[in-house]
Symmetry: C2
Subunit: 340 residues, 2 copies
């Protein structure tokens, strides 16, 4: 019949079209890759050229072949050139940090590198706002537990809400660690320590979940560890809020500069934000001291024999480790920044 003939024709046409499109798409993809190749090589060559010019600049300066004012200006120009690469679309062609074991363990071999700079910035902004949202909870959740403890629960924390809180911490730190790994793959210069810090925090949340929360009698003693932990968590919330404020401003300054640079505006306007760093750091040092103090108190309660569970000793050691690591890394960052 006519309709049968017609549909037969149409089906044949569709099969042909499918083959054609499939080939066209394959051709398009390989054409794109081969067009990209020379650009990638130019970007890489320029990047290494910038590095080598920078070291010649320093050696000329140290041999007094160059006027220091001129050297400063040239160094600024080189920094600007590097920023044009790093903060523009070209950054997608620069090799990022390799995708580490942590991401592969959870996600498999999928590529999480964004090819456009605006997507990379969006990821970074979303990370910042995620941290903002959680920092508030970080403050309120343990505060609520501690307040309810003295007002309603008669000085004795019930196990369930504490466990919900610990599970939430585990979830949160896992998310942060995954996101930071993704940022690193997308070219962020985040120090590996801040990521390890979250691995340790994940481990601590996991261990604290298995930590048996004893009730009456004598809560004040047996729950001393949990209580210290909650107090430290509140401190962590304060630290995060302050750090976020600083880091968000830093990002916005960089985005603004990224746009400005194309218009050859003078470089070096991060000074305002860097000033904030000197305000933030004393607070961070105090918090890090408190972190170590809580760790040592945990170890003390364990060794004096009030609580003898291994979880208490383990968390105590981890807290002290984290405090030491945070402190050394903050000092190193300050030293690097003041050198410029």
């Amino acid at each position: 019949s006519a309709s049968a003939d017609k549909i037969e024709e149409e089906v044949a046409a569709v099969v042909e079209e499918a083959k054609e499109i499939s080939d066209a798409v394959s051709a398009h993809i390989s054409r794109n890759l081969s067009d990209e190749q020379p650009l990638r090589q130019r970007v890489l060559a320029l990047d290494s050229k910038i590095h080598s010019l920078r070291s010649s600049l320093y050696s000329l300066l140290s041999h007094k072949h160059l006027n220091p004012n001129l050297a400063d200006k040239l160094d600024e120009d080189l920094q600007r050139a590097r920023c044009i690469l790093v903060d523009g679309d070209a950054s997608s062609l620069l090799p990022g940090h390799a995708q580490g074991r942590f991401l592969r363990m959870f996600l498999g071999p999928i590529n999480v590198r964004a090819s456009r700079k605006d997507v990379q910035l969006k990821v970074k902004e979303e990370y910042n706002s995620y941290r903002d949202r959680t920092a508030l909870l970080f403050l309120l959740f343990p505060a609520m537990l501690l307040v309810l403890r003295s007002w309603i629960w008669d000085g004795c924390l019930p196990a369930f809400p504490v466990q919900v809180y610990q599970a939430w911490l585990l979830f949160l730190y896992t998310g942060l660690a995954l996101r930071e790994n993704i940022l690193r793959v997308n070219g962020s210069d985040i120090r590996p320590w801040w990521i390890y810090h979250h691995y340790i925090a994940m481990l601590m949340a996991l261990v604290s979940l298995t930590w048996e929360i004893k009730g009456q009698p004598d809560c004040a003693k047996t729950q001393r560890g949990v209580q210290l932990f909650l107090q430290w968590a509140m401190m962590q919330g304060v630290a995060m809020l302050l750090q976020n404020r600083y880091q968000r401003q830093r990002l916005y300054t960089r985005i603004a500069l990224g746009k400005a640079k194309r218009m050859d505006v003078v470089w070096g306007e991060t000074a305002g934000v860097d000033g904030q760093l000197w305000l933030l750091c004393p607070i961070l040092f105090i918090l890090q001291g408190f972190e170590a103090y809580v760790g040592l108190l945990l170890l003390q309660t364990a060794f004096v024999g009030v609580i003898s569970e291994w979880q208490v000793i383990f968390c105590g050691i981890l807290l002290v480790l984290m405090a030491i690591g945070n402190f050394t890394n903050t000092v190193q960052i300050l030293m690097t920044k003041s050198r410029f």
Copy 2:
């Protein structure tokens, strides 16, 4: 001096080159996007054309305007056309499943869709081999615990190794859930239930971590729940091994067909693998029955009053829920497959 002039010139050249490259890369990226646009539209149009032809085919057939043999052949042709799209590079232009809440919660707004079909297949293969590796551990880890329990630990499981095992389960299920979500974004037709199933399993592992493991005296009674849980986990390992064997063969058949299709080899060779499904399913049904049985036993121990922790009741309910869901979904899959 001469060297100062030279370096000044070179720095200026580098800044110029950086601007040029940055613009060239931006231009390349937008050119690529605009070249892709018409291809994407053709792919989408063809995809909906295939769907509409398929429904006309069925309506012609039901009105007896078409000879059934011809209809079969045309239907096969349409399936082939669809597979050329889905199993080739063109699939990167078809809309995949949207990236769900779970991925956004853990990873933020990063795109995990692979643009090349061979990468998508690599992700799938890696998922299968990940499951193979873990299925063995799934079998051996609880088996070891149960053997050590009766040989060395005098019928009493110590808390620590069980908690390590539960933490490992939590990690594992999180990884599986993330990977399955990624597969879905990359165009896999995995039923949402199998992913929800892993969310429930994550929750169960988390809850079981807070489950206090009581030692002497009277382990046999107080540890009944843990023991049942371990036995069910071994079963799960067996199910995974069998399922993997089947699913790997299915994938290889599809890859082989994907290559064959371009050479117009006759369609419909999955019959061999589909036969295996009828062998696999009775075993799956037995395992699902056992899953429900373990869940009910847990509920019983809780209600008879041997163990009164909420964790036992909760895990019991979750196990029964999972058994029901697994059963209904397996039956639905069998019904869909036998209709062809």
